[in-house]
Symmetry: D2
Subunit: 354 residues, 4 copies
C-alpha cells in the first residue's frame, strides 16, 4: 500500500515535523509540499536540516490538494477550513493541524472571533486525540488534531475525569517553549526578549485551547474513554494559565484539583493512571515527575500524578514535545488511526538525550 | 555614619549579590568576606566580574564576625544558626539569608529534618519581608530574610489575604531559574541537563517555603499589613508546585484562588493591590502581566492580578529576581529597615534590558 | 553643571542603555526621548524594566533635538547623518552610536552601499574609542562611537600594533550575542531559530566593522596610542569572521597573528598589554582568559593575551558587553571625554554574577 | 546476521547515543550495557527518554565484554586501554570512542600526561575518520573514533590539504556546546555559570585534539584521501582555539589559512570540496554557511568554504553534532565500515528543526 499525501503549510514548523515523519513512513508517498511563500523553491531552501537529503520542491496549495489522497493541513486557523473544503470536494481525506474543526461551529465565533467558514463540514470531523477517540477515528474523513496545550492538559486529567475525581476547581497551567507559536517572527519571540525571561500570557480564560479541554473532560466524565466527538458531557470549568519560557520545544502541564470524594493516595492514583493508559503506545505513566527534555524529539507523553496530603489536592503532570505529540506526531498518529495502520508508523518513540 | 559589615558565605551567589550592593551602600564599610573554601585568596578569584575593582580577600568566618557590627549570613541552613549565635555573643546584629530563623523552632524539625540548633535566639528574630513587617524590623537584632519563593508567593497573595479573599483552595506555583539553587554543582543543574528542559520538583507539600507562605498569609489574614513575626493567624493551606526552567535568574509566581465572597472584577482587584502596596518603594503593581526579565538585576517586585469571569478565579502574579528581592536585595532592604536607613540604599531599582 | 541631553532611537536597545546610564549620570538632565514609533507614549510602554520608575514620554525626534545641548543618536546608519546635521545646525553636540561618522565619507559607499549624506560634517567628527583617542575627543562636536565588534577586536590588538607585532596575517573572529542586531525582529533572531544554534555570518570580508578595525590598527601602528581620527596609518588587512550564538549579550573577540620578530613569551606579552592600558579605567588586562559573563551589565573590557610556542602565534582576547562598552557605555564614556568629565560618570563598572 | 554488541560507559552521553543508534541498527543485538555506577539498575534510571521503551539493565563492564562480539568503549581515556586489552583477549573487536588509540603511543604521554598503558595494541588500531580511512577500516580489530573537535576541523581542511592549499599559518577555532564535556558535573558546566556566557579554553596549543588534527592533515597532504593510520605525512602546525558557548550540542569549526599558490576563488574552492567529498554519504558540501542546528540530532557534517579576496584567506567551515558525528554516530559509522555494512545503518541523517 502506498498512500499519496500532501502537506500544506510545509514551510512552517508543523510542516517540518510532517515532512520528517512522512518521509520515513513506510506506507505513504509525499506527493507535494504546499506553501504560500516559497512556491517553486527547493524544500531545502526553508529547511537546512534536509540539505542534500531530498529534492522535494514547494508547490502551490491547490496543486498539492489535487495530487493527494490525504491532505495534511499545517496552516493557520480560519485559512484552513476552505482548504479542507477543497480537499473534500476532490475526495481527499484531511488531517487538520489547525483549530478549525476542533470545536463545534456554534462555539467557534466565541473563541476565534469570526464565524466558522464551513460549518457544513463539521459532522465529518473527528477529534484526533487518538488515545480517547481511537475507535471513531477509523475511517474518518477529517481528523482534527488537538491543540498542543489541550493535548497535554487533557491527557493529564482524563483518568481523574473518568473516575469523577475532578474537584470543584480545576487549575491547570502549562510551561511552554517558543516553537509552539510557529516560525513567524514577533517581538515576544525575538531571542533577546525571550531568552532569560518567563512570562504568563492569555490569562483569565483567554486561551482558545480551554474550549477543547473542557469539551474533552466533559466527554470523559460521561463516557470514560472511547469518546465520540459529537457528544457533549457534563464538564468542569477550567482555569488555564499558560507561561512562556526560554526553550524551543516542550510543554509541561501542571494540573491541580481537590476531589471531593477521593480515597486514593499517591500510589492509588498512579495505579488508576496506569490502568487508564494501559493500551496506549505513546503514553508512559511513571512515578517520576516528567521533564520536557525526556520527550524532546519524541512523539510520546510522560504522565505522572501526585497527592498532597496536606491539602487534599491531586497534582497531575504531562510532558510532551509541542512539535511531536503536540503537532506533527499527533497528526500522523491520527492519520494512522484513520487508515487502520499501526498507530506508531512514522513516529519517533525515543528522543535523544541531552 | 559608617556601619562595619561582614559577609559570610561570600563565595556563593548570595554573597556576590551582597558584595555588589554593600560596596555601593553609602552607609557601610565591608570589614570582611567569610568563606570556608577560599580563605586567604582574593575575592576576585571567585568573582571574575570584580577583577580589577576590589582588593578584598576572603577570611575565616570567625574573623569576619569579630570585625563586624553587622554580619550578613549567606550560608546554608542549619550551619548558620551557630554563626548567628557567635555573632550575637559579640554583640553584632545579623541579617540572615538562610532559613534558620524564618519559622519557629517548634516547626523547624518538621520541615528541615533536624532540631533547631539555637531555639533560644528565635525571640530576637524578625521576619524580614519588609513590606509586611516594616515597623517591627526597626532595631531588630536578627533579621530572617525570607525564602525567594515565599517572597514571590506571599507578596502576590497578601492583598487578597488582607481582604479575606483567599478561597478554600490556594494553588500556587512558581517558575524559577537555576541560580536559586546556588553555585554548588549537581546533575540537575548541569548545563546539558537543564538547558531545553522544564521540570517540576518537590511536588505535593514537600517544599520548605510552604511553611513561610502559610505563616505569612495567616498573619496577613489576622493583621492586614503591619505584621508581627511572633503572632500566628488563621492561615490557609497552600498547594505549592515549583518548576525549574532553563534560565539563570528569575521567579515568576502564579497564584490561583476562587474567593467565596468576591464582588471585585479585574479593575477592582487591581485597585485593591495598588492601595495595599501604595507606600512600598520596591513593589510595582501594574495592569500588565509581569515578566522576570523586567526585574533581572533589580531588587523590585512586579505584581499583577486578573479575574477569570468564567471560573470565578483570581489569578495573582509576582515576578522577582531570585538573587535580588529573593536574596541579597531583600537582605540589604531588611538591614536598612533594621537600622532606620532609607529602605532602598544600596539597592538596584531599574534593571537592564534585554 | 547640568547638561541637557536628548536620546534619539530611544525605543531600541541602544536607547535603553543610554536611558539607564544618563538617568544616573550626575551631570546631565534628560530633555527628551526621540523615537519614530511611539511618539506620545510613556517610555515604560517600551521598557517594562522602568515601570513605575520614570514618567518620561517619547517625543518626535525634531523636538528632542531642539531641546538638547547634546544629542545621542542610537538610530540606524544612513538615517542618522541628517539628524546629526540638524543637531549641529542648532548648535548641539552629537554622540553618534551609528556608523555614519566612523569612517571617511570616501570609504562610506564601499562599505554601506550608499553615498554619505553629509560628508561636510566629517571633519568635525572624532572616533570615540576613548582609550585610543582621549586627547582629541575633548571638545569634540561629533563623537562617532565605534562599532561593537570593532571595539573588541581593536582593543585586543592595539598593544601588538603599537609594537609592530602584527604578523603578515591577522585573523580575527568574534562570538556575539543576539542583542547586537537590535530589537527589530527577523527570522535569524527568532528564538526558535537561534536557540541551540551557532552560525557564522558575513564571512570573507563582508562585515562593515572591518573598515574601522583596519583604520584603527593602521593609526596605532603609526602613532602608538593618542590617535588622531583624521590620520591614516600603514594598517594590516584583517580577516574577520563573526559568529552568532544563543546568548543575549556579549562579544568575545579572538585574534590570532604570528609576528615576524617577536621575542616576547606569554608573560612578556601580558606585561606589554598591562603597560599599554595602564591608565584606562575601563580596561582590565588579566592573565585569565576572559568570559563574556564577567562583563555582562558592565561597561568594562577584559583583555588577555597568550603565546602558542608550537606555532609562534599570539592569541589576544577581549570580552565586552555589546550593549555596554559596545554601545551605550562607550557612548557615555565618549560624552564624558568630550565634556572633560570623569570618564566613568554614569557607567557601570562591576556587572552582576551569575 | 546479528552481531552481539556491548556498550561500556553506557550511563554517559556517548553511551546514550550508542544505545539510541544500536537499538535501531538492523544488524546488531545489544548484549550488555556496562557502567561503573549503576550496576544492576534499569537503563531507564539513567535515561528518562527511554522510560517504558526498554528493559535493558546496567551490568559490570567485565560481564559486558564477555558477552559481546564487539565492544563499544565510551569510557574515559587512560581507563579505556585496559578494557580494550581485555576485549581483545577474548577475541572481541573494539570501537573506541576514547582518545587511547587515536595517536601513536610515542606521542601519548606528551598530550595525555601518562604513558600509554597498552602500546602493544596500537598496531591493531585504525583511525576511525571513515571518510578518510574507509578502505583500511574494513576488518579493523580496533577502531579509534576521532575526537569531536578533530573531526570537525580535519574535515573542514582536508580538501585544502589534499591540494597543498594550506598556507604557512593554519588558524582553527571551534565553538562548542556543553555536552562534549560529558555528564560529569563541574563548575564550568553549571547552568548558571555557562548560560549567557562565552569563553575560550585550552588556548595556545593546550588542546589534545591538536595532535589528531595535525596527524590527519599531514597524512592528507601526503596521500590525498585513502589514508593509512600508521603513515606520517608532512603536516602543518595548527593554532587551535576552542570556545564554549551556552548550547547543549553542536560544534562549529572555523578554519582560516592563506595559501601561497592559490588560483581558486570561492566557486572554485566549493567545486574542489564537492569533488573531494563526492562519495561520502554523511558529508554535505554546500554554498550556504553551515549552522549547528541543521545537524542537531543528525550524524551528518555540513561543510562550506569561502574566499576572502581582500586578504587572500580561505575560510572553511564544518558543523557537526558533537554527540552525532562527533561521538556515537561516528563510532557506529566506523563499526559499519569495519564490518563491511552499509555505512549509514543505525545512523540519523535528517535532524529535526527547530
Amino acid at each position: 500500500m502506498s498512500i499519496g499525501v500532501g502537506i500544506l503549510g510545509a514551510s512552517g514548523y508543523g510542516g517540518a515535523g510532517l515532512i520528517e515523519r512522512l518521509l520515513r513512513h513506510p506506507e505513504v508517498e509525499i506527493r507535494g509540499l504546499g506553501t504560500r511563500q516559497h512556491v517553486g523553491r527547493l524544500a531545502t531552501a526553508a529547511w537546512p536540516q534536509l540539505a542534500g537529503l531530498t529534492d522535494l520542491t514547494f508547490s502551490a496549495q491547490n496543486e498539492v490538494i489535487e495530487r493527494s489522497d490525504v491532505v495534511f493541513c499545517a496552516t493557520p486557523h480560519r485559512a484552513t477550513a476552505p482548504l479542507v473544503a477543497q480537499a473534500r470536494s476532490v475526495g481527499a481525506s484531511v488531517i487538520d493541524l489547525s483549530a478549525d474543526f476542533r470545536i463545534p461551529p456554534s462555539q467557534y465565533a466565541r473563541w476565534y472571533g469570526v464565524e466558522h467558514p464551513h460549518p457544513e463540514l463539521f459532522p465529518e470531523a473527528r477529534y484526533g486525540l487518538v488515545e480517547l477517540h481511537r475507535e471513531e477515528l477509523c475511517g474518518a474523513a477529517i481528523v482534527a488534531a488537538p491543540g498542543c496545550n489541550a493535548t497535554a492538559v487533557s491527557l493529564a486529567l482524563a483518568p481523574l475525569a473518568a473516575e469523577s475525581l475532578l474537584g470543584p476547581e480545576v487549575n491547570t497551567s502549562v510551561i511552554t517553549g517558543a516553537s509552539g507559536a510557529g516560525r513567524g517572527v514577533a517581538e515576544d519571540f525575538h531571542f533577546s526578549e525571550l531568552n532569560e525571561n518567563a512570562r504568563p500570557y492569555k490569562v483569565g480564560g483567554e486561551h482558545r485551547h480551554i474550549a477543547e479541554i473542557e469539551a474533552t473532560l466533559g466527554r470523559v466524565t460521561a463516557m470514560g474513554k472511547s469518546l465520540s466527538t459529537h457528544t457533549e458531557g457534563p464538564g468542569p470549568t477550567v482555569t488555564f494559565t499558560p507561561h512562556l519560557v526560554p526553550m524551543t520545544r516542550g510543554i509541561l502541564a501542571t494540573c491541580v484539583t481537590r476531589p471531593e470524594n477521593n480515597s486514593l493516595d499517591g500510589d492509588g492514583l498512579l495505579g488508576l493512571y496506569l490502568e487508564y493508559y494501559a493500551g496506549d503506545p505513546l503514553i508512559h505513566v511513571q512515578p517520576q515527575l516528567p521533564t520536557t527534555k525526556a520527550v524532546t524529539g519524541s512523539d510520546r507523553v510522560l504522565v505522572s500524578v501526585r497527592f498532597d496530603p496536606r491539602t487534599g489536592s491531586v497534582i497531575a503532570f504531562a510532558a510532551i514535545d509541542n512539535l511531536g505529540k503536540g503537532a506533527a506526531g499527533q497528526a500522523v498518529q491520527g492519520f494512522n488511526a484513520a487508515f487502520g495502520l499501526d498507530e506508531t508508523l512514522g513516529l519517533a518513540l525515543a528522543g535523544g538525550w541531552p
